[in-house]
């Protein structure tokens, strides 16, 4: 049970914080259509987090009320979260936001593929629902990048490649498996290790951006997601500012 809980929280916390980072862009994306698209994608990621937190609560037969979900989403101590530095990182640079969106959704689709035939059937159901949305997320990011990367050497290209250089090292945290993942694999919950996505991810990045990252770039970490990055505490403080006014209140 602990292995499964860890596995679900790893995905749920990534989805939660990625959605949080996306919605920070509402109202300030480069143009109105992009504003609307990015808001939708952010809502989708938050929705995936809700579905995964519901599965976590189900392991303990807890009804997935708003209060129960929010206790998981906001009220654990830092060492109880399983998020990656990749999603904890905050940015006000649109190039980084867009490149992260592309990488995250590329990896996310691969992650969902690992559990579409899961022995934990409730997770397989969530995966099939989420995958339908991911197709649109990928299409959105690709359409923008097709155009922005069209002219090699352009200012847009330079900005995006600089953003990529900043983000690829953090890929190691996104691909870092949780503790006891081997049990998850042996029980058929997932078909392969999260770390096995490293080569496909690097290959996809190189094909998309015309780069030459190698197998030594973004190597999956081995700390089992036990620690949080420096960005985590300020992010959580910001997210909980209202909740902290009165922890017992219903808002």
């Amino acid at each position: 049970m602990t292995a499964l809980r860890n596995y679900l929280l790893t995905f749920a916390d990534d989805e939660h914080l990625m959605g949080q980072q996306h919605v920070e862009w509402i109202g300030v994306a480069p143009f109105l259509e992009e504003d609307l698209a990015f808001s939708s994608i952010g809502q989708d990621e938050l929705g995936h987090a809700v579905m995964l937190y519901e599965l976590v609560l189900g392991l303990d037969d807890i009804e997935p009320t708003d209060t129960a979900i929010d206790a998981l989403a906001y009220r654990r101590s830092g060492d109880e979260y399983r998020s990656s530095a990749f999603v904890e990182y905050g940015t006000t640079d649109w190039a980084e936001a867009l490149v992260r969106h592309w990488i995250y959704d590329m990896v996310e689709q691969l992650r969902w593929n690992l559990v579409t035939a899961s022995s934990f059937t409730a997770l397989a159901v969530v995966a099939s629902r989420a995958e339908r949305e991911e197709t649109f997320h990928r299409r959105h990011a690709d359409a923008l990048l097709d155009k922005l990367l069209a002219t090699p050497g352009s200012d847009a290209c330079a900005r995006l490649l600089e953003a990529l250089d900043a983000l690829v090292p953090m890929l190691s945290t996104l691909l870092e498996p949780p503790a006891e993942e081997s049990q998850i694999l042996s029980e058929g919950v997932a078909s392969a290790s999260l770390a096995s996505l490293h080569l496909p991810a690097i290959t996809a990045i190189n094909e998309r951006f015309g780069t030459n990252y190698g197998t030594s770039d973004g190597v999956p970490g081995t700390a089992h997601r036990q620690t949080r990055s420096a960005a985590f505490d300020p992010l959580m403080t910001r997210m909980c500012e209202v909740l902290d006014l009165d922890p017992e209140a219903s808002w």
């Binding site: 509402i26 143009f31 200012d155």
Partner: protein, 303 residues
Amino acid sequence: MEEFEAFLNDGGIVEAPDDMPDEYRDAVFTFIEMHANSELMGGLTERDWIPKTPGLRHKMSVVAKTQDEIGHGHLLYMVAADMGVKTRTEMLEDLFDGKSRFHNVFHYQAKTWGDQVAIAFLVDAAALASQQAVFKNCSYGPYRRILKRIISEEGFHMRLGEDRMMRIANGSQVQRDLFQDAINRWFWPSLQLFGPDSKPNDKLLRWHIKSERNEVLRDAWVQKFVPLLQSYGFTIPAPDMKFDETTNRWDVGPIDWEPLKATLAQGGPDSARRISEALSNWQQTAWVREALDAPAPEIAAMT
């Protein structure tokens, strides 16, 4: 103009390609541009608190609500641009340069989560009442059709605001104090949103853009929200307010219109920050728009 006004009085509907007097075109365009600007600036006011929304499902609802507001701006800019006065980019750049107007309420800062709820509850209700009055008898067809959708979504927003307000009203003293402070800050700006009494010769009324006088809409809002807020135990920050037992109506007393005038001159409490931040965001992402507008390399090579 007399012939045009007779057409309007007979229930005539004007479409974008139709001939119309310049004065009518300019008045309608300015009205829609201000509405579009207000939807966008309203979204910016709300965005300050979205990341701090207390609850995950709650946050999804709030993001969807603000996304709707930005979406309304998107639709309204299209309607306005079709009038041929300014392009969407020109309208946005005028807004971020402080050259065009947006509603008074978005010249104020949402300082607390209580303010966020007050905006959804009090401001959205005031805006909805104004929009419904325009939709009722609007002579400019494209605007009227877009308003139908906007109004239906605004109804959901108001219910979201009402639901959040009721949770707070039935909640802890911390929550109630937070919302009382928000009422103290937002009651008057919300009421001032309707504007001073309509002039006898108001062109927007004469040309069937508005269907109701400002003071009538304002009074209807007062008669609804004063007793509603009081029924939840909140007080109204209007020391001269009286209840007239013969008419069974609330009178909030004299209205100070100076704060409204200040916002019209971009001199509201948060005007400078709001406009400069919007301009800064616009400038920082200019490279994206420029790259997307650039011709494809193969086309550029041919020119």
